[in-house]
Each structure stands twice: as structure tokens, then as C-alpha cells.
């Protein structure tokens, strides 16, 4: 344990040259990851980072842990196999909106459904970066890209909705440059036993520069983002005078101004990350501009058994109740006969 405590960010910087574009949001995410790695309470050899294909998926090369750069969309099954084979590993997956939600969409929902104990860091820049500017499953409707010259005619996915809809136990969101929130939620993800999905709204300077500018604009972001914190009322705004409440008429979320129409802080929703029911978390994950502030921070964190624990439980139970303890006994079992 002593060695673990002594680890620093430097222990996790690899000798490989980082080849992301200057100004890319990925650099900030990398820094956050390197900073939280020493805090996992794990030996550095027990950390494994796995990825698929895309700019985000180059990150295993840049972090000095065990790492595996997989194939397009398949990071999660690779990670699942590794975690099942060795549950002691802290398994991380770095992935992008294309890798994770298009070609890897099926694996994404099933990994979440199983509550596989994997930390998924989803870099969402709403575009295909490494393949140079085609629209992704999170590109807003109507956006002109190389492969949607007249604008996309596809409704985008909201990753949070997918996570919560698939029965996810942990979902958090941050902005790439907001290192403080990012480290806070990545640490929270690391401590969550189960599939922890952290969506990072990330800026691609080359193909989708400013994709998140509307919500992240320095001047307006206090009004367009809400940092949710467990146990705290949902307040935001430059003047901290806005809040989120459940509308008494429609049972939907609404933005209200504190002090208007007799509304006080007590009328606002208090964030409860542990609420089992998915309803409010789903609504919070779905909030989008311009009608709502976009939620960052940990949105949902509930406890459900993880796959590898359940599997090991079954193995222990099977071992305790079986008379077969090795291959020889198996081969001798059932219908055999002796020839004298």
C-alpha cells in the first residue's frame, strides 16, 4: 500500500509522443486521467486502459499503464474479457462518440446492462475526427458535415439517455477544459463499482471547432451549465438566482427564477445521485440548450451488483456443491464403463 500512496502523475506519463492536434480537448482529458491514476488505490501494474479506434482511442499509448489499443468499436468487449479474466484490474476504456455509439453501440448498451465494472471515458466531440469530419451519432440534427452536405437528417443520441435507459448505474458529464469538475467526476467514476460512464464534451479544433461553445462560452456558461452536486439544490446562473424544479403541473423539469412567483430555494430539486428510479436522472441527463442548462457533474450513481462479483459468486457456489474438482474427475464422471 505504501508504494501505491507514493505514486504521482509522473508515474503515469508514457514515453510516447502525444500526437493530438495543438489545442485539442484531448490533452486536457489526458492530464486529468494522469492526475487521478495515482489516486485509484491500485498498483500501477493493476491498471489497464483499453480503447477502440479514433483520436480518443490513442490515449492508452500516452498513459503508462498496461494498455490495449483495439479495433473500431470493440474496446468494451475487449475490456469485459479482461475484467472477467482478472477482476482485480482497474479497467478503463477511452472512446469517442463514433467508436462507442455507432460501431460500438451494441457493446455499449450491453456492457451497461451487465454492470461490468469498467470505467468508460467517452470523448464526445460530435464529429468523426480521425476519419476527418464525417457526422457521428451525436452530431446535431441538420448539421452540415462532409457526409451530410445538406445537413444531417438523423436525430442524435444523447449518451446519458442511452446509459440510463440501458439500466446504467453511473453517469457523469463534464467539459474538457474544466479540469476541476473533470477530475472530480473521474475520481467518482473510479470509486463506483460498476459501469461508470463519464461523457466529456470535448472540442475538436479541426473538424468541429466550437461544437460546445454555446454552453461553454466563458461569458455565458454560468447561465448555460449547471454543476449538479449530490445533496445540493439545483441552482445555477451568474447571479445564482436560477434553479431547476419539477413543475407541479406537468411533472417535467422547468427552469425557475428564485424570488419570482414566490419561488424559494426550497422549491428546487435537491440532487440525489443515488435515487434508484431513473426518472429524474433521465430528465437531468436530457436537459439541453437553449431551454435548459446542460448538466455537468455526477448525474447518477446507484449500487447494483457487478458482473464479475456475480460470476465469482456462482463459481464459488458451483465449487461448493459439485463433486467434480478437476479435469480428471470430470472425464470420469457420468456414464463410463470398465473393460477388464
Amino acid at each position: 500500500m505504501e508504494n501505491i500512496l507514493k505514486l504521482t502523475k509522473e508515474d503515469f506519463i508514457s514515453d510516447q509522443m502525444v500526437k493530438w492536434c495543438p489545442g485539442c480537448g484531448d490533452h486536457a482529458i489526458l492530464t486529468s486521467l494522469e492526475k487521478i491514476m495515482p489516486q485509484l488505490g491500485k498498483k500501477k501494474e493493476d491498471i489497464l486502459i483499453i480503447s477502440g479506434i479514433g483520436c480518443s482511442s490513442r490515449s492508452p499509448y500516452y498513459i503508462n499503464t498496461y494498455g490495449f489499443h483495439g479495433i473500431h468499436g470493440r474496446a468494451l468487449p475487449i475490456a469485459s474479457g479482461a475484467k472477467i479474466a482478472n477482476p482485480n484490474l482497474s479497467v478503463w476504456v477511452t472512446t469517442g462518440d463514433g467508436d462507442c455509439l455507432a460501431i460500438g453501440g451494441n457493446h455499449f448498451i450491453h456492457t451497461i446492462r451487465r454492470n461490468m465494472d469498467i470505467k468508460i471515458v467517452l470523448f464526445n466531440n460530435e464529429i468523426y475526427g480521425l476519419t476527418k469530419g464525417q457526422y457521428s451519432p451525436t452530431t446535431p440534427l441538420g448539421k452540415v458535415t462532409k457526409t451530410s452536405p445538406m445537413g444531417t437528417i438523423e436525430e442524435p443520441f444523447n449518451p446519458g439517455e442511452l446509459v440510463i435507459g440501458a439500466g446504467g448505474t453511473f453517469f457523469a458529464r463534464s467539459m474538457d477544459m474544466n479540469l476541476k469538475t473533470q477530475e472530480e467526476i473521474l475520481l467518482a467514476a473510479s470509486q463506483h463499482r460498476g459501469t461508470a460512464v463519464t461523457e466529456i464534451l470535448q472540442n475538436c479544433v479541426i473538424f468541429n471547432n466550437g461544437a460546445h461553445a454555446y454552453i461553454n462560452d466563458r461569458e455565458h456558461r454560468a447561465d448555460r451549465l449547471i454543476h449538479l452536486q449530490h445533496g445540493k439544490p439545483m441552482i445555477f446562473g451568474k447571479e445564482m438566482n436560477k434553479g431547476i424544479r419539477l413543475s407541479p403541473n406537468s411533472y417535467q423539469l422547468e427552469v425557475v427564477n428564485i424570488g419570482e412567483n414566490d419561488i424559494t430555494v426550497d422549491d428546487l430539486l435537491v440532487h440525489d445521485i443515488h435515487q434508484e428510479d431513473r426518472g429524474v436522472h433521465m430528465m437531468l441527463a436530457r436537459m439541453k440548450a437553449p431551454d435548459f442548462p446542460v448538466a455537468v457533474g455526477v448525474i447518477r450513481s446507484v449500487i447494483r451488483p457487478i458482473y464479475s462479483d456475480l460470476l465469482i459468486e456462482q463459481i464459488v457456489r458451483a465449487k461448493n456443491s459439485s463433486t467434480i474438482t478437476n479435469a480428471d474427475e470430470l472425464m470420469q464422471s457420468g456414464n463410463t464403463w470398465n473393460v477388464e
Binding site: K44, R74, P77, G81, A85, L330, M331
Partner: protein
């Protein structure tokens, strides 16, 4: 059981086929007869043959389900092609199987079903029982349905319940014909249905009723005895190919001191391997039913990286889906075994029928130069040995290995001596040592060219690998043209060097001469039997059989084997995929071909005809 039979004939070998509607319990009747055959001490092999539909339309040809058993006082290596005895529970099953019953053979039918639209649905205009078309056979037209109901009357079973035992009545008739004892099957009923004494009683009564019926109506006719096969002293069992494959992997994991991991997705006819391993949590097997084929193999790659003996199992269409990931395993040089239980293709093809047409896919079905080791099992029993061998090669040479079996040997079963772990060779995984200062991800063993396996958790050896081309030794990403060629060559050479450990190709029969029969994989039984038959027909000719289990790399002496014969005929259940491969690798020889693509195994007779033409040219 009174001994008043006038004529008992001793036979060396017999083929019995049970055929009926899917749902008539033919697989169960066949399995019970196989169990009973084991108690007699015959050697035997079985083959279940069933439709892709769970319950195809009643009384139709497409709904016919069959179970064939070949047993003898001599070594039995195939499920046989022509049946000596056919049980046909309805007209459709008679129609579907009559062509494969020996002239003069015995046919047992349920006469009660040869009425009304059962006859027309099978495509008959009149009942074949009455029109003389079966005069060349010994026909036992038993009213099985009515006698089965009668036998259970005092138990108060309604007709629907009673009819479920029709298969057992037919089985009773077969027991009489082969002078079998009923006790062991009674015991089976007592254990199997322990919770419901009525069912135990019903089955016992019906089995005895079938036996007694045959004795009463047939007492003056012939019954048969097949002597024990003089097996060497020891413990025996019978096993299906799919179970043997699963057990071979379990044995390999234990021998290698590793956990066994399976990532798989259900697909016919490979699913039983998944089921078998899911049932082995007691041995710590981590079998994982993934969301699709791709996830199945990718999870195996992840498990291999993390240090397990990792396998994935599938059939043809699933192998297609796994292609990209096999390439990843080639590039990362991780040990995984991909089991492909071949079935009729292309596409969904013939899911429940056998074929050998995935060979080229296994050899070449990847982007880039992505060689893998390809080996093929050739009998239900040796699926065990080759599964073990596949794992050993993967772990000791750090390469993906594709193990080919097929529907015929996977579903078929045969008698094997119970394998013992102590008799199996050692497996030494190439695990890297903690803090080894010389470790580099792609540093290789000089002899095998295998890299070392540093699994996460190993201190001092953190490294990163992946699908991008690797720099020699360091494993860093490299787009250097010289390095790419070097690495591709090393990966190829590593696979070719597996030839150093697989031993020589053997020739069965004459070691040189007129005709070499060449085959691979699941056709071994039929080809070996065809060799024996053709040698009887042409005693003056020198004929040998080279049956391949190692496909890539080929055994080193393959050229020497081929050189010794005037003619070579390659027999495959495809259009000539192995022949094509041989033409590429050993173009100096002329390869004749015999190919069949009907979803069925070879028949000995058709093979002998094919050889005869070549021998008489």
C-alpha cells in the same frame, strides 16, 4: 426373457437408424440404445441428424429427425452410411430414409400411422405397407401407437401422454432384435423420472411391451447378436465431438495452470460447447455469453491479454463476423483458440447439416497478411485431443489457432478411453517474469519466434499493444515500411515454425503405390472405411490414405508423402478447398478431386466408385 428364438445370427457390425417426426423422441431413443450398446461392449459411433426447425410440420419430410448408430465387434470409426435396420415412426420418415436402407434389411414401422393424410403428406399415393414396394425388406409393421396406449391403460394415462412413449415401444422392438437386456434402461427411467413414478412405470411397461410384441410376432424369425469389441483394458465412455472439444480445453487450461475463459455467442452447431462450459463453473471456467460473435472473440482477446487460456467458439457465419478480431489477435500475437464447427453455407445455409467449406475462410479470411495456425479434428473423440493441441500451440507459440470441426463430428459421438491428465503433454505458456529487465513486448524466442506474454499485474512490465503495426522488439506503433515487411515476415515465419512440433503426416494402408486418398477433418471415418473397401475390391492395387489434421502449417513431409503415389485424389465436402490449398503449396502434383456438397457426410459406396474410376483409367 425366454430363449426360444430359432435363429440368431452373429454380425460383425450393424447400422441402426431411428427416424420419426421431430418431437417423436428419436434422439432420446437413439441415445438410450447407444447407452445400452455401451453395456454390451460393442464399439460404436452415433450421428444425430435433425431439421433446422424446432417442430417442422407434422408428418412431412422436412420434419424428419434421425439418429443413426453404427456398432460392431470391430473398431467403428464412422456412423455408417447404409442402415441395416430402420425404425420409421411415420410414412415421411420411411420415405426420407428408404434409399439408405440395405436391401434385405429390417424396417420397423408404426403401422398405425400409415393411414389417411399421413401417407399423402409423405408423398405416397398408396400405403407402402400394402403395395409390395417393401418386398425386398424384412418388414415389421407394428401397431406401435395403439399398443403403446394399451400398455399404459391400467396406469390411467390419456392418449396424448401415452403417445409420448411410442419411441420407447419402438426401442423395445430393437432390443428384441439385438437380444439386449432391458434392466439398464429400466434403471435409467428410475433415475431420470424419479419424481414421477407413473412415468417410470409407463416407460418400463412400454419398453417391455415392445420387446414382448417383437418376441411374440417374430419369434420364429431372425434376431442378431453383435459380439464385444475386444477393447484394451481400461475405462471407457462415449462422448460427442462438442463435449470433447469443451473437455479438451478444460484439460489444457488445467495442464497450463491457467483459468479457462470462453467468450461465445450461440450458433448451431457449436452451441453445445458453450453450454458444456457454462456448466463447468465448478471447475472455475469463465464462460461468457456475449451480445454477438464479435463481442465473443473480442472478449476472448481481452481475456488472453489479461492472462487466461481464452477461446471463442462459433460456426461459419460467426467466423465471418470474427474475421477482423482474428486479425487483431494476429497483430497483438496473443494466444487464443477459435473453434469453428463448420456447417453448410454460404450465409445461413444449412445450419444443422455438415460441410467442410470454411477452410479457405479459416486460412485466408482476414485483411492483410494474417497467418494463423489451422488444425482440424477428425472424429468426435479426437476433438478432445485437437482442442488440447490447439490450446498448447496457441500458448506456446503466442498465436491465434483456428480449430475446425464440423456438424458431423460435433454432434456425433464415439467410444473413447477416458483421457487422463497425466498422459497429456505438458503445456508451458510463455509468461514473462516480473521485473525482467530484458522484457520487450515483441522480443522473440529464437526457436519458435514466439513473443513473451506479460499480463497486466506483472510488475515492471507495463506496455501497450494493439492493432496498429508494431515496431520490432519495442512494440511501439510504427509505420516504417521496412519494419512492416520485417514484422509481417516474422509473424508468418512464427506460424510456419509450428511445423517443427507437429510431427510427420502418416499414411494409412499402403505406404506407396497407385492411389493416395487425401482428406482432412471430419471425413476420416468414411475415408478410412472407403480405403478398406476399395482395397478389397482391388487387392492387387496399392492404395493409401493421408488424412490431414494439420492444415497450416502442413506437416513437413507432405511432399514426400505425395511423391510416393501415382495418383492423388482429394476428397472433401466442399468444391475442393483443400485441393486448391495444396495446389498453391505443392503445385508439382496433380490432384484429382471427389467433392460432395449435400450437407451430408460421405458414403463409402460413392467414394469407392470414385476411386474405381481412377484405378481403372
Amino acid at each position: 426373457m425366454t430363449e426360444k428364438k430359432s435363429k440368431v445370427i452373429e454380425l460383425e457390425e450393424v447400422v441402426v437408424k431411428f427416424a420419426g417426426d421431430s418431437g417423436d423422441g428419436m434422439q432420446l431413443a437413439g441415445s438410450l440404445f447407444a447407452d445400452n450398446t455401451a453395456t454390451v461392449g460393442n464399439d460404436f459411433a452415433t450421428f444425430p441428424d435433425y431439421p433446422a426447425e424446432i417442430r417442422a410440420p407434422h408428418n412431412t419430410i422436412s420434419g424428419v429427425s434421425g439418429f443413426q448408430i453404427h456398432f460392431g465387434s470391430k473398431l467403428v470409426i464412422s456412423s455408417g452410411d447404409i442402415a441395416d435396420v430402420l425404425v420409421a415412426m411415420n410414412p415421411a420418415s420411411l420415405k426420407a430414409n428408404l434409399n439408405n436402407v440395405k436391401y434385405g434389411g429390417t424396417i420397423v414401422v408404426d403401422a398405425d400411422t400409415f393411414v389417411g393424410d399421413g401417407i399423402t403428406k409423405a408423398g405416397y399415393t398408396n400405403s407402402p405397407l400394402d403395395d409390395g414396394s417393401l418386398k425386398d425388406y424384412h418388414l415389421i409393421a407394428a401397431p406401435i401407437t395403439s399398443l403403446t396406449r394399451e400398455a399404459q391403460k391400467e396406469l390411467g394415462c390419456d392418449n396424448k401422454t401415452a403417445d409420448k412413449c411410442r419411441n420407447v415401444f419402438a426401442l423395445g422392438i430393437i432390443y428384441y432384435l439385438f437380444n439386449r437386456e432391458l434392466e439398464s434402461t429400466f434403471k435409467y427411467f428410475e433415475t431420470k423420472f424419479a419424481k414421477n413414478q407413473t412415468i417410470v412405470e409407463a416407460n418400463k411397461k412400454v419398453l417391455a411391451a415392445g420387446y414382448n410384441y417383437a418376441e411374440n410376432v417374430d419369434a420364429n424369425k431372425t434376431t442378431f447378436i453383435v459380439d464385444k469389441y475386444p477393447l484394451k483394458k481400461g475405462k471407457y465412455r462415449y462422448i460427442t465431438g462438442n463435449s470433447a472439444t469443451a473437455w479438451g480445453m478444460i484439460a489444457a487450461a488445467e495442464k497450463a495452470g491457467l483459468e479457462l475463459y470462453l467468450g461465445s455467442y450461440p450458433i448451431t452447431p457449436a452451441t453445445e460447447i458453450l453450454i458444456e462450459l457454462e456448466n463447468r463453473r465448478d471447475l472455475g471456467v469463465k464462460a461468457y455469453q456475449a451480445e454477438d460473435e464479435i463481442a465473443g472473440i473480442c472478449s476472448a482477446i481481452g481475456a488472453a491479454f489479461a492472462g487466461a487460456l481464452a477461446i471463442t467458439t462459433t460456426s461459419g457465419p460467426g467466423l465471418s463476423l470474427k474475421s477482423e478480431a482474428i486479425g487483431l489477435a494476429v497483430m497483438t500475437e496473443l494466444p487464443i483458440v477459435i473453434v469453428d464447427v463448420q456447417r453448410g453455407g454460404p450465409s445461413t445455409g444449412l445450419p444443422t447439416k455438415t460441410e467442410q467449406s470454411d477452410l479457405l475462410q479459416a486460412l485466408y479470411g482476414r485483411n492483410g497478411e494474417g497467418q494463423v495456425v489451422v488444425i482440424a479434428a477428425s472424429s468426435p473423440g479426437n476433438c478432445f485431443n485437437f482442442a488440447f493441441e490447439a490450446a498448447k500451440i496457441a500458448l506456446e507459440h503466442m498465436t491465434p489457432v483456428i480449430l475446425l470441426t464440423d456438424g458431423y463430428i460435433a454432434n456425433g459421438s464415439e467410444v473413447i478411453p477416458v483421457p487422463k491428465l497425466a498422459d497429456l503433454p505438458k503445456i508451458t505458456p510463455r509468461l514473462a517474469k516480473a521485473n525482467d529487465p530484458n522484457y520487450a513486448p515483441y522480443r522473440r524466442d529464437e526457436k519458435t519466434l514466439a513473443r513473451q506474454w506479460a499480463i497486466p499485474g506483472t510488475e515492471g512490465l507495463r506496455h501497450r499493444i494493439g492493432g496498429l503495426e508494431k515496431e520490432n522488439i519495442t512494440g511501439n506503433v510504427s509505420h516504417n515500411p521496412e519494419n512492416h515487411q520485417l514484422m509481417a515476415t516474422l509473424r508468418d515465419e512464427k506460424v510456419q515454425r509450428v511445423a517443427d512440433v507437429i510431427g510427420d503426416q502418416k499414411i494409412i494402408g499402403d505406404q506407396e503405390g497407385d492411389l493416395l486418398i487425401v482428406g482432412w477433418g471430419g471425413t476420416y471415418g468414411a475415408l478410412k472405411n472407403s480405403l478398406d473397401s476399395v482395397k478389397k475390391k482391388y487387392p492387387a492395387k496399392k492404395i493409401g490414405l493421408a488424412h490431414f489434421n494439420y492444415i497450416n502449417p502442413l506437416p513437413k513431409n507432405t511432399e514426400d508423402v505425395f511423391k510416393k503415389f501415382k495418383k492423388i485424389v482429394v476428397c472433401e465436402l466442399n468444391f475442393g478447398q483443400f485441393a486448391k490449398y495444396l495446389k498453391i503449396n505443392l503445385p508439382q502434383f496433380k490432384y484429382e478431386q471427389y467433392n460432395k456438397l449435400k450437407g451430408l457426410p460421405f458414403f463409402v459406396s460413392e467414394l469407392v466408385d470414385a476411386y474405381s474410376k481412377l484405378l481403372e483409367e
